[in-house]
């Protein structure tokens, strides 16, 4: 039985189960956090953040995340060429980890969110448990994509102007960080309980 059917909801912050007014929104009597039967405008907000992330994904991969200048020669690295460099010069397990974290995770995360949004909007009754689990994984792994940004900042800090080489962060790094933050926010604004509302044929989900 869904808690929503009898007007109950647990507070997301402190876990207190409570009766909500007909509006479906209230403040928790215990911790004063907002409590909703369903997060307001969850679908629209997730769409907006996801579309922004998809737009930012292009410059994030096309523009260099850093430029290495050494002895008058400069070389720019994108996210992908950084992975290839690791594969050739480092070791492949590390290259694999970075490939998963900075190429695969953002891409799969955006595809998965698209799938979740579409399936919820079409009131799909299929694979509800699996979709909920998919959402849980998305929420968990998203932060690991920040790894490349930390690498760039550490390299820039270590190889400073004045030595033989300089490493400068590139525009791609800003776009890439935007993708990571936007997809994290998109996942947070998606209310997974909507997956279980498929029986409501009409749009009272927002």
């Amino acid at each position: 039985m869904r808690a929503k059917d009898i007007g109950l909801a647990s507070c997301h912050t402190c876990g207190l189960l409570q009766q909500l007014p007909p509006s479906g929104h209230a403040h928790c009597p215990r911790c004063h956090s907002p409590v909703h039967l369903r997060t307001p405008n969850s679908i629209q907000l997730t769409w907006a953040l996801l579309i922004s992330a998809i737009i930012a994904y292009l410059p994030a991969n096309l523009y260099p995340v850093m430029t290495v200048t050494s002895l008058g020669q400069s070389q720019s690295d994108t996210i992908m060429s950084g992975v290839i460099y690791l594969l050739l010069h480092g070791d492949w397990p590390l290259a694999l980890i970075v490939f998963v974290a900075s190429v695969l995770v953002p891409l799969l995360k955006m595809v998965a969110l698209l799938y979740l949004l579409f399936s919820v909007q079409r009131h799909s009754p299929m694979r509800k448990s699996q979709r909920t689990r998919l959402y849980r994984v998305i929420e968990l792994v998203g932060r690991w994509s920040m790894v490349d940004i930390f690498v760039v900042s550490l390299l820039a800090a270590l190889v400073q102007a004045g030595s033989l080489a300089t490493i400068e962060p590139g525009v791609g790094a800003i776009a890439f960080t935007s993708v990571v933050i936007l997809t994290m926010l998109a996942a947070m604004s998606f209310d997974p309980r909507l997956i279980w509302d498929h029986e409501e044929a009409h749009r009272d989900i927002t």
Binding site: C31, G90, I97, P169
Partner: protein, 211 residues
């Protein structure tokens, strides 16, 4: 002072799953156990063993390691006799110096600010509960903990250190600093501290706001 008697922590209490909205009764939890949703498998409530003392000890350790890891050199790079030293803050400062203020803010937030706030606020509310201190803003701090959690990225930062190590290893000699060891300890201790602390149990102790 310990948490309420095990049998009274959750037995028979109704809850709604946050991920699938299934209304269900929580099972009786003993220390070290946790309850999962019967429909979708999401974690509903954890009851960590060790009462309040264990997370307090771990968060104090984490706080000390956090101070240590931010006060000494983190990595030293040596190219032809020249040495470049960096700290954790140095990573965001380098971005700022390169004219990328927004990026510097993002890195500073995830590598220093969020972890510091998380550890400090957890310790603050745990001490308030353990010693029954009427500390101001304990409720606000407690409600912020779950919001801050995804933005503290110490573990991700560590992976970044590893990758940077490999990338520069070919062109220069790298030396590890004292901070790096403190940082490794910090990651392990803060993971253990998070596992030993369930904010929702603390809310039960604090109860309803009286004002």
């Amino acid at each position: 002072m310990s948490l309420p008697h095990p049998a009274s922590v959750s037995r028979g209490e109704l809850t709604a799953c946050h991920e699938c909205d299934a209304l269900q009764a929580l099972p009786a939890l003993r220390p070290g156990q946790s309850a999962s949703c019967r429909v979708c498998g999401a974690k509903l409530l954890r009851y960590p063993a060790g009462g309040l003392n264990r997370p307090i000890a771990l968060y104090i350790t984490a706080f000390i390691l956090l101070l240590l890891s931010n006060s000494f050199p983190f990595l030293t790079l040596e190219i032809q006799g020249r040495q470049e030293v960096t700290t954790i803050v140095g990573a965001s400062r380098a971005l700022y110096n390169a004219g990328m203020g927004e990026l510097a803010v993002a890195v500073f937030m995830t590598s220093i600010l969020a972890p510091t706030l998380l550890i400090a606020s957890s310790l603050y509310v745990l001490l308030a509960a353990r010693f029954r201190l009427p500390l101001p803003l304990a409720r606000v701090a407690l409600s912020w903990i779950s919001h801050l959690e995804p933005w503290g990225m110490l573990d991700v930062f560590m992976l970044g250190v590893l990758v940077a190590f490999v990338k520069l290893g070919n062109m220069a000699t790298m030396h590890t600093g004292l901070s790096l060891y403190a940082f490794c300890g910090l990651i392990a201790v803060s993971a253990a501290a998070t596992a030993a602390f369930e904010p929702r149990l603390l809310w039960r102790r604090l109860g309803r706001r009286r004002t």
